[in-house]
């Protein structure tokens, strides 16, 4: 299973953008082309996808294992051949969701920004990709970000750790900008990073609310970017 605490190492590397999203239970070497997903692996994947859909649609507690089985087109017992319990299945579903989110965040570009312009572009890029995902699967995101933390404390901790890691990445990223001189010196990068992370939230709410037109989305991304730029650069800049 994907160990979320490791994402700190995975994400910045950003070279493994094409890792097959099957994720979780792959105990095999991640390098090289996984020659062919075994039948069992494909079943697992199929089940995780179905569980994603079903949990996202009805919520984890409300959804039943037989809903999942039905959605996957298998018998109920079969689910238990691949996942020992509902809870464990959820873990995999969340891994799947987190993986997709991370792919969206890191998607393609892996370069460190070298100037404010670079940064601005990257922020816009991340925002765009994230909102695309959000609009494509608002329920999945809701499941991962909102509902999961309500299941139990372990999950809550994991999710919070994820945010922490992302913020830490962002902060170290900003630190470079500060050292390089194109970000204002007195920036509390850690806190700014948390703040910036949180600004996806409105896009998310927009999508949940269902009034996420392309125009509104663009407006929000523009506003967000310029806002952040001003905030990061400080008053002395043009």
């Amino acid at each position: 299973m994907l160990n979320w605490s490791l994402i700190a190492y995975r994400v910045p590397a950003m070279e493994s953008a094409s890792t097959p999203t099957t994720g979780p239970a792959k105990p095999r070497a991640r390098r090289g082309r996984p020659p062919e997903l075994g039948l069992a692996e494909r079943r697992r994947h199929q089940l995780v996808e179905s569980a994603c859909a079903v949990f996202a649609e009805h919520g984890y507690e409300t959804a039943s294992m037989s809903d999942v089985a039905k959605h996957a087109g298998v018998g109920q017992g079969t689910v238990y051949r691949y996942f020992p319990s509902k809870r464990e299945l959820l873990d995999h579903v969340l891994d799947h969701g987190v993986e997709r989110m991370l792919d969206a965040v890191t998607g393609g570009e892996a370069t460190q920004a070298e100037s404010l312009e670079d940064l601005s572009g990257q922020i816009s890029g991340i925002a765009e990709r994230l909102f695309t995902l959000i609009e494509a699967e608002p329920n999945l995101l809701k499941l991962v970000l909102v509902e999961a933390s309500a299941i139990d404390d372990e999950l809550k901790a994991r999710l919070l750790g994820l945010e922490n890691t992302l913020s830490a990445m962002m902060a170290s990223y900003l630190d470079k900008g500060v050292r390089a001189g194109w970000l204002r010196e007195d920036l509390d990068t850690e806190m700014v990073a948390h703040g910036m992370n949180s600004m996806v939230v409105p896009g998310f709410l927009l999508a949940l609310r269902g009034d996420a037109t392309a125009e509104r989305r663009a407006r929000y991304v523009t506003t967000l970017t310029s806002f952040v730029m001003f905030g990061l650069r400080g008053p002395e800049a043009a």
Copy 2:
């Protein structure tokens, strides 16, 4: 019950902080044991509090009505004398939570900011009060903000509507600043408002994570405020 769609009217007015949630007790005169005026209200309140605690602790779906009853120190049947169903009880719990949040947000000051300094002060104030509440009752907030939207669509809509209303208030507030000239003209106030609202989130996460020291809290509030100030004022300002 608090009608959330009315908060737009309630919040700015800010004078009716103590609206009773359930209306006055019926003063009918009858034979037999007098219904002990106020007892019902007290019980209702006691139960809502217990339900708050229990739902926040275990999650709405997972918590059982008998947990609530046990927590309140009454028999299970008693809960049903005051709330016809688990779902209805949740509604009241959420009302309670939203009310407390709104009180925190609007707390005390009701004046329109007349300058950037005013605004900055107000933002700090709101942030402070909110974080105080968050730290006092992180679970309640989690319940209201996070979990509720996963219960059903009606609740999701209500919560989203709440955010929308708050943003609209904030936006119209900013509009005045733009018109008065102390905020930059090209501000997309609506989007900025959404973005600003979302910036409570890190404070919230901090509290959930449990590492919300006074020092970190202060750092976040400071960063947030200055960040917002720069963003709102634009580059031309000192």
Copy 3:
């Protein structure tokens, strides 16, 4: 409480047509004008009436004591001051119902028929009165005749005993006709009596079905009477 096994003595006497229907818990002398029903008695009566209505409407099991209390306009606890349990209340309700049925059956006339014509008239009379009651309160009758026997064995026995008693009365009545010569000699009066009793059933069903027009009712009474006349008299008669 009315002891149903005693009705055999009460009914043929048929002189007490005006006994106040309060029935059940009257442990006082039934002779003479019961000077004034005590307040308690009136309450009991009021409760029995309400229980009649409520039990008849929803069925005994389905109806709740608080429905009864509400219908009577008293507190729930009050019901228990007059009847120690729901079951006991039912007993009184049934007594009330049976009493009304018996009054309908015996209503007014008390004379022994002296000829086939008399008998025919009496049968028509009984049928008419019974159907009037049935149409006025089909639910009460359903309660007494249909539902009660499903409550428990004691009640079942009581109801069956009631039918038995009525049949016995009817049989001894017919016996006189046989001895007097205006009924055919080979009549198995006991069985005939049972059969005749059962012929109220269709009228009852008619009423339950709701299509009991005056015309249909008349047709049934006529048919029934003539049918019985032929059956009783045998072939040798005109």
Copy 4:
């Protein structure tokens, strides 16, 4: 499920005595353990039988689903695999009961009577078979005839409809006799049919009362038959 409104068509035809209540098992071919054809049907039947017994014994409202499960020797959950609710189970129980009653009524012979003697024989036959059933399972009959109508209005309507249909059949049967001249012309066949139907009741009561000796039963059938004969034929016959 047996559609009671169709019994008018089913009964006279009398050739489809074994219509399966639930339809054929779906013959799909799948992986995994084969669904063991017929098992479901057997379980359903077993459960209906148990439910019959339990409902008849304690009454529908009073009996609990776990009583039924216990009687059938299965877990409570199992009952719900076959019937979605207690009410639905009752429907099947009643279908079962009605079916058995109809089989008793129509049993074997399907011929239209051609003379009074035929009719007399048929009536005796029906009565005999019915009483045999009644004595074998008085509780089932009580459930079907007595208690069911107290459950809810839909059931009441269905039962009344059943009686109506039977009477209509009987009436049309009698009509032929009138046209053929061996029944008196002025017979109100519809009402007579209702009346005749109701005459099973005493046999039923006899059984419930528990004093249904063979001798008494025979006496009642004889009396009933002769009584009806006189009534049908009228005074002009020998």
